[in-house]
């Protein structure tokens, strides 16, 4: 008996040691917390979202399977198509401008400047401050009676009446796009600046000695070497812009007459405000193909350009 216990103790100790040294077993143990969180609160809801899109669930009601019913009714819903247009327009315009201005700002910040790190810290502020709180500031800046922009333009003699920023469909669209660009420039600029700093100065020296102009140096050195990081940054930027919710919810709430509703805000309105979870989930699901297309386009599009440039040399 005593011998047996002794033996089993030794066996247990040996197995314990073996398990402690086994990479796969140890790896699984280390992965446990993260895997549990991501499986329960990310993977499962992702699947549940697709399922809800196929049901007529309401808040507090489980709902029944109705096949593609939600998607069919969305396809005949003029508001849905307006919102698809809004989201695409918002994403394309905001992303293009954010990229252009962000890259410009990054190039400017890469120059020899006094107080450079202080400048960089200030540039990143719009990214740090909670989006909703800065959006409230924009809401106030766009106020129909007390807009500081209108006041300045009138003082300069450029306009004669206060601009109704958020009351007219196109004004409102441009206003929220401007706020989104403001919010997004710092991210693009600071990450691209980090990319710029990895480019070896000797390349520019060589090009300068060969008589290349500033534009040629930018076009043939900076841009090609920056392409991989541009691809990643813009993929993120497109993704965040396409799924934007906070700015719209805060500044316009989707109005006037749905002119600024995006897919995320419409799905919130239908699912939470209206209580039709199934329909809201269907709108959220409808974002997925657009998202995948956006990711593939911005990621592989730019990757291939890098590859083509590489092979051309």
């Amino acid at each position: 008996m005593a011998v047996e216990t002794h033996n089993s103790d030794r066996l247990a100790a040996r197995t314990g040691r073996r398990l402690r040294d086994n990479r796969d077993w140890l790896g699984a143990l280390f992965m446990l917390p993260a895997a549990a969180i991501l499986l329960v609160f990310l993977a499962y809801p992702l699947g549940l979202g697709f399922w809800l899109g196929l049901t007529d669930a309401k808040i507090g009601e489980a709902g029944h399977f109705i096949g593609w019913g939600n998607f069919v009714s969305l396809a005949h819903d003029a508001v849905f198509w307006l919102v698809v247009f809004n989201t695409t327009f918002y994403t394309v315009v905001a992303s293009v401008v954010k990229f252009a201005l962000g890259l410009y700002l990054a190039v400017l910040l890469n120059e020899r400047l006094p107080f450079k790190s202080l400048l960089r810290a200030f540039v990143l502020l719009p990214f740090v401050v909670p989006t909703v709180l800065s959006a409230i500031a924009f809401w106030w800046i766009y106020d129909s009676q007390f807009s500081i922009i209108s006041w300045m333009l009138i003082r300069l003699g450029l306009i004669h009446r206060y601009i109704d920023f958020l009351g007219e469909p196109w004004n409102a669209r441009w206003a929220v796009i401007a706020a989104n660009i403001w919010r997004g420039i710092p991210f693009v600029a600071i990450t691209l600046l980090a990319g710029l700093q990895t480019i070896s100065p000797s390349l520019y020296e060589a090009a300068t000695l060969d008589g290349a102009t500033a534009w040629q140096r930018f076009r043939h050195i900076t841009l090609p070497l920056l392409t991989p990081i541009i691809a990643v940054v813009m993929t993120f930027s497109v993704l965040l812009t396409f799924t934007d919710f906070q700015l719209i919810y805060t500044i316009t709430g989707g109005g006037p007459i749905n002119a600024t509703h995006l897919m995320a805000t419409l799905s919130f309105q239908r699912a939470i405000t209206g209580g039709y979870l199934g329909e809201g989930a269907a709108i959220a699901d409808a974002m997925v193909p657009f998202l995948l297309a956006a990711i593939l386009f911005s990621y592989f599009g730019l990757q291939r350009r890098r590859w083509q440039q590489g092979s051309a040399d």
Binding site: L26, M31, L42, L113, A137, A284
Partner: protein, 297 residues
């Protein structure tokens, strides 16, 4: 990185070109556009501060008072916000939720990143890819199924609904960042310890983690900021006024019908931003490195 403009400037001067000409060109192509961009990026914050300290008489009267300046600064808006609304509650809630979800995420991310990068168990590279893909799933498509889950689990309107769901976007981000960071720590150090008979846990706690402290700070600060700023989950999962977070409380509770109290709204925006901005100002470099580290590779 400064070598380029340096050489160019020197070359210009060396060629005997007009120094003042190049100075004014530098002003037009560098300082002026930079100044304009900075003005646009910072103006909303200036506007927030000015509005917060303006009495109502100045706030709605541009004819008699210059809107860009505060003639008679007042604390009435801040006073109203702190003593007549639930703002202090929201501040405490936001703090508790952000700190808890940040710690949960950091703990699970450290374990996961170490396992993926250093234990290299079977299939770890696919798990790494999966983590990156999880990072790309936006909250806007998760909030509807999540609210259904939160209801079923009985977490609706409690802090736990947010503490448990914020890690869905924090864990992929922190894991990805820490994986990159662990990769920069020489593997030889761990091999030495292994040969000396240290266990994996000892290696992680006594060698890898102390060396990864900057990475941990980066990930922690960024995660804290992301939780502080989160909006759509907090808006959907919380209903009672005293349980709200700052961003949600500010936009849903401070507007009474059609009357916008711009002074206290701006005060809420200002005070709600102060904690993250303070944190940011102390750790700018960590913040930047986590921002740029996240998009690397």
């Amino acid at each position: 990185m400064t070598a380029v403009p340096d050489t160019i400037a020197r070359a210009d001067r060396g060629r005997g070109k007009h120094y003042f000409g190049s100075l004014s060109r530098r002003f037009a192509t560098l300082y002026l556009p930079l100044g304009i961009l900075l003005f646009v990026l910072l103006f909303p914050f200036y506007w927030m501060v000015v509005t917060t300290f303006k009495p109502d008489t100045e706030l709605y009267n541009y004819a008699h008072f210059n809107p860009f300046w505060v003639a008679h600064p007042t604390f009435e808006h801040i006073d109203k916000l702190l003593f007549q609304t639930s703002f202090p509650n929201w501040m405490v809630n936001t703090l508790i939720i952000s700190v808890s979800s940040t710690f949960i995420s950091l703990f699970s991310s450290v374990c996961a990143a170490y396992a993926i990068e250093r234990l290299r168990y079977k299939g770890s590279q696919y798990v790494g890819m999966a983590i990156f893909l999880a990072y790309l799933v936006p909250p806007s498509i998760l909030f509807i199924p999540l609210v259904a889950m939160v209801f079923r689990l009985g977490l609706f309107d409690s802090d736990w609904s947010l503490i448990l769901t914020y890690p869905t976007f924090l864990v992929p981000f922190c894991t990805w960042l820490l994986m990159g960071y662990f990769r920069t720590i020489p593997y030889e150090l761990e091999e030495c310890a292994l040969i000396d008979g240290a266990s994996r846990l000892q290696i992680l706690l006594k060698i890898t983690l102390p060396l990864a402290v900057p990475g941990l700070i980066s990930a922690g600060i960024f995660a804290f900021t992301l939780s502080w700023n989160e909006f759509i989950y907090a808006l959907t999962f919380i209903s009672s006024s005293e349980n709200k977070t700052i961003p949600v409380g500010a936009i849903t509770e401070l507007v009474e019908g059609d009357v916008y109290h711009w002074g206290s709204l701006m005060a809420a925006a200002l005070l709600g931003s102060v904690p993250v901005v303070l944190l940011y100002s102390f750790f700018v470099d960590y913040y930047v490195s986590s921002l740029t580290g996240a998009v690397k590779e």
